[in-house]
């Protein structure tokens, strides 16, 4: 594989950049693989990469219905954080933070990781207390957390509304300085390029139509480009998990919902952090191009539309304007939607299933993008070793029957509870 470096950039400039290798190939599916990963999004690509890198399993195929990176890894708001209270989420996400920090070097691909910090605003004394508790839990797990008072927040984000007579005055906030953003598409492309270079075959425009399961064991999959034999299948298809589960006669604790995001027209640098509104569900950051990147609530009803509805967008942006009034002067550049696996407790599932050789990675709710490296790493471990790693042991499928829910906020499909 060609290394991406300043020297290669200069060298290729002399041939008008016409001689670069393809970043990944476009193979036709083989008859058999050791592992088949369904879903060529961030998590699927990362899983294949870590299977090859950490476990030396390279006879791997990624089966993607559309094109790689066209789903939620290309539709999110690029936020990376580990500001969780519960051990399962906190330790898993912080493990991921360490992978994020070295990802550009690891993948030889600039993912533009920008640890600019995230601030969750508090709008009452009670919320400050809750944030103090969450911050303490984070610090006990080795995650950086700083509780900010009103004056400190004002110094960092003076453009927020600090006037006296507002409905949701800013009391302070909880900051994780090491959180940040990354270039989402680059994450997918970086993983794809490295996985491809180690022998993983990325098969696009190939839809899975069924599974061959005999005597409780997986033997292969059926696709629109022929049947493929394999003993191990990993499902990484957030948003379509229920559709594939139906083909396996499984009913999962997941509903598919739509989440929207949008960007404003580009403006000069004004916001150098990620900020979330504490009295509703709204988050904002500014991209390197200058656009304000915003998102918030689910549309609120089951949806596979991949396109949002305006009442939700209006509601979310009303919160944004309450928090930062200058936003009302900006024009909207683009809005889009992605379909999420909303699990019933708001936490993901990375586990084996009752079918031998079938592994499940789903239920990422609002937080799939930031989990990409940790999810890929632990899922690769689970597939390769046929057992869960301690980092994803809590994300079990049967926790709903046993009552071991991870109710970080208890926010799953039922957003009205919040």
């Amino acid at each position: 594989m060609q290394k991406y470096s300043i020297f290669n950039l200069v060298k290729n400039a002399f041939s008008n950049h016409e001689n670069w290798d393809l970043a990944w190939k476009d193979p036709t599916p083989k008859e058999e693989y050791d592992v088949v990963i369904i879903g060529g999004g961030g998590h699927g690509l990362a899983t294949a990469y870590y299977l090859a890198k950490e476990h030396n399993i390279t006879k791997v195929a990624i089966i993607e219905k559309g094109w790689i990176g066209g789903g939620n890894v290309g539709r999110n708001t690029t936020i990376i954080r580990s500001n969780y209270m519960h051990d399962e989420n906190a330790l898993f996400s912080e493990f991921g933070m360490n992978l994020w920090r070295k990802m550009s070097q690891d993948l030889n691909y600039n993912v533009m990781f920008s640890p600019r910090g995230i601030i969750n605003l508090a709008h009452s004394d009670a919320q400050m207390n809750a944030y103090a508790r969450r911050g303490n839990s984070m610090r006990l797990n080795g995650i950086d957390a700083v509780l900010l008072n009103r004056e400190q927040v004002k110094e960092i984000i003076p453009m927020a509304d600090f006037s006296e007579n507002v409905r949701f005055p800013i009391f302070g906030g909880l900051m994780q300085p090491s959180a940040g953003t990354a270039r989402h598409d680059a994450v997918a492309w970086g993983y794809a390029r490295q996985a491809d270079s180690m022998g993983v075959e990325i098969i696009q425009n190939c839809e899975v139509t069924g599974f061959d399961v005999t005597a409780g064991k997986i033997n292969g999959i059926r696709t629109t480009r022929g049947n493929i034999k394999t003993k191990k299948v990993g499902l990484c298809v957030a948003g379509s998990t229920n559709i594939l589960a139906e083909k396996l006669n499984m009913t999962l604790p997941i509903e598919t919902h739509l989440l929207q995001a949008c960007v404003s027209e580009p403006v000069k640098p004004v916001l150098d952090r990620v900020v979330t509104f504490g009295a509703g569900h709204f988050y904002i950051s500014q991209s390197d191009k200058g656009e304000m990147v915003m998102g918030g609530d689910l549309d609120g009803y089951n949806s596979y539309a991949q396109r949002g509805n305006l009442p939700t967008l209006q509601h979310v942006l009303t919160e944004g304007i309450a928090m930062m009034p200058f936003l009302s002067k900006l024009k909207m550049l683009r809005t889009w939607g992605g379909i999420m696996d909303m699990s019933m407790d708001g936490s993901p599932i990375i586990d084996k299933t009752h079918i031998d050789g079938l592994y499940l990675n789903c239920g990422w709710c609002y937080g799939g993008f930031k989990a990409t490296p940790a999810s890929g790493w632990t899922f690769a471990y689970t597939i390769a070793q046929d057992r869960v790693h301690e980092l994803n042991a809590g994300f079990s499928l049967n926790r709903f029957s046993t009552g071991h829910l991870i109710d970080e906020k208890g926010l799953g499909t039922k957003t009205w509870i919040s």
Binding site: N242, I243, E246, T251, L252, P253, I254, E255, T256, G300, Y301, N302, S303, Y304, A305, N309, L310, P311, M344, F400, S401, T413, K414, W416
Partner: protein, 89 residues
């Protein structure tokens, strides 16, 4: 914007409604032995169909009645609406 025909009030905008989820889920009968699996299926497990989906909505800012709506989850086309107690053939 969805437009939902409340069987009590007529056509209204989605802003007046709140969503109540899959209407095909049935609570296990009272005073009967219930397996963990049945309980799971009632509380957590959902089919989350792509396509025709029968779901509950409440006309919260209207007559406050719960209603059933048959909607396509991919196109948002609404085929029919029913009163909560109406049997659907």
């Amino acid at each position: 914007m969805l437009h939902i025909k409340c069987p009590h009030c007529g056509m209204r905008s989605q802003n007046e409604f709140s969503y109540g989820g899959d209407a095909s889920v049935k609570r296990p009968e009272l005073n009967k032995e219930i397996t963990d699996e049945e309980w799971d299926n009632f509380v957590y497990n959902r089919k989350s169909l792509r396509g025709k989906h029968l779901e509950l909505w409440q006309h919260l800012s209207g007559c406050r009645q719960w209603i059933k709506v048959e909607r396509d989850t991919a196109t948002h086309e609404i085929f029919n609406t029913y009163k909560a107690e109406e049997e659907i053939s």
